[in-house]
């Protein structure tokens, strides 16, 4: 059997570099996720409003985000806006802007769906018990919304982590880019490195995302 090429990672600081690259991916997604969740809650609540104009606008926003590939968004923000608007933003900031733009829309839609999925008569039965508006939302509606929302939003988080692999296209050296660099630098000495290194990258993504999906599943089970 040929060498799997994992040995490359044991040379010098290669493994450390790969982990640092992973941290870049995780950092970008973590920051984006936190901002997206906060903004998504607001956008989602606004999506359930009765104002037709506001609803149409947010609908348009969501559809735009869904139709546009994230890579195009990244290019527009990073390469496009710097020239047109004379902005000097770093690649990392561009990535975070794009991910927040995307994540807020998706999160908003999840929030909207979760709020809407609470039957109207749940409100009625709470009001019939004499509860005020705040009490109805605080004790009855929000706890149920969060229970439906959490597993869904955790899945969004893993999607965002995976999508960070795109940011190397605007020059950010994240885990996948580091992997490429290592492979290319060792092309002669270990031609099989592509397999081993990418396999390790795969494993790293798995190690980050798996516990998160497990959490989602167990929450879903607990609250079903």
């Amino acid at each position: 059997m040929h060498s799997l090429g994992i040995d490359v990672l044991l040379k010098g600081t290669n493994m450390l570099r790969l982990l640092k690259g992973l941290w870049v991916s995780v950092e970008i997604s973590l920051i984006s996720v936190v901002i997206s969740i906060v903004l998504g809650l607001v956008v989602g609540a606004l999506m359930t409003s009765k104002n037709k104009l506001l609803k149409a606008f947010l609908r348009l926003y969501l559809e735009t985000v869904r139709i546009m590939p994230q890579m195009v968004l990244l290019f527009i923000v990073y390469f496009g806006s710097t020239r047109v608007f004379g902005l000097n933003i770093t690649a990392e900031l561009s990535a975070i802007i794009v991910f927040v733009f995307w994540g807020t829309a998706e999160m908003g839609d999840l929030v909207r769906g979760s709020i809407k999925s609470i039957p109207k008569i749940q409100y009625d039965s709470a009001y019939a018990l004499g509860m005020g508006k705040f009490q109805v939302y605080y004790y009855i509606i929000f706890p149920q919304t969060i229970r439906r929302l959490l597993p869904l939003s955790i899945n969004l988080v893993t999607r965002m982590i995976k999508t960070t692999s795109l940011v190397m296209m605007i020059g950010i050296v994240e885990v996948l880019k580091v992997a490429q660099q290592i492979i290319e630098a060792n092309r002669r000495s270990s031609p099989n490195a592509a397999f081993g290194v990418f396999a390790v990258v795969f494993l790293l993504y798995f190690i980050v995302c798996w516990p998160i999906t497990r959490l989602a599943t167990s929450l879903e089970k607990r609250w079903e």
């Binding site: 008569i121 749940q122 009625d124 039965s125 709470a126 009001y127 019939a128 018990l129 004499g130 509860m131 005020g132 009490q135 004790y139 009855i140 706890p143 149920q144 229970r147 609250w223």
Partner: protein, 246 residues
């Protein structure tokens, strides 16, 4: 006369669709009024107007002398006087039986927890569900859920109880346990307004029968037995016939 609920010229419409027209009805303390009528005749909507879950386009509803106005600040106080039980129980799925019951006494009436729990268990015991206090609604049968819903309404010490087709979603063998609970409440002098399709039950529990059809009170009588034997209007006759098999 001690009128607990007084409805004057109530008019209700959804858009152009008139659901209730010029309804007048008074219910006295301790009285059990059963509302019957074909589906879509407005009986459920009528109940929802009584505690302001629906706004009304005309007329006025008084409960215990206070006007029921959904937009007014007093509505939350008035609703505490009115217990309501729904067709699909509407327990709060994220709370246990006991939490469902004590939530409103604690948060709305500001009673202390021990007191609320003690009364909740007493009431649960009366409907034979004390051992289910820490269950979640999804672990209960329909009949059990409905009895919990009744307890949840009772613990607020309402002046009047509204029942909106509370057995319509239940399996036949569970209908009995719920109706039995309601019969006991009636015996103990509770004021109740009941919408139901259970004619035998209506006959047994009612002090007065109100027959709704097409958003209107067509017949109203305290001669309950007489109504079921020989209603005085054609429409009531026709309606009762749909329950008979020859």
């Amino acid at each position: 006369m001690s009128e607990l609920v007084k409805v004057e010229h109530l008019h209700k419409e959804f858009g152009k669709n008139v659901v209730l027209k010029d309804i007048n009805l008074s219910v006295e303390k301790g009285e059990v009024v059963v509302i019957i009528g074909p589906s879509g005749c407005g009986k459920s909507t009528f109940l929802r107007c009584l505690n302001g879950l629906e706004g009304i386009e005309g007329g006025i509803v008084y409960v215990d002398g206070l006007p029921v106005e959904p937009e007014s600040k007093d509505i939350y106080k008035i609703r505490q006087k009115i217990g309501m039980v729904f067709q699909y129980y509407e327990l709060f799925p994220h709370k246990t039986v006991i939490e469902n019951i004590i939530l409103s006494p604690m948060k709305v009436q500001k009673r202390n927890r021990d007191d609320a729990v003690r009364e909740a268990i007493e009431l649960l015991d009366k409907v034979g569900l004390a051992d289910k206090k820490d269950y979640y609604p999804r672990q209960l049968s329909g009949g059990q859920k409905q009895r919990v819903a009744i307890v949840r309404a009772l613990i607020m010490h309402p002046d009047v109880l509204l029942f909106d087709e509370v057995t319509a979603a239940l399996d036949p063998e569970m209908v009995h346990e719920v109706l039995q609970t309601m019969l006991e409440l009636a015996k103990n002098g509770s004021t109740m307004i009941i919408v139901t399709h259970e004619m035998a039950f209506a006959k047994a529990v009612a002090d007065r029968i109100v027959f709704f059809d097409q958003g209107d009170i067509v017949e109203e009588t305290t001669d309950v037995k007489g109504f079921f034997e020989e209603p005085s209007t054609e429409r009531a006759k026709k309606f009762l016939k749909t329950f008979a098999y020859e």
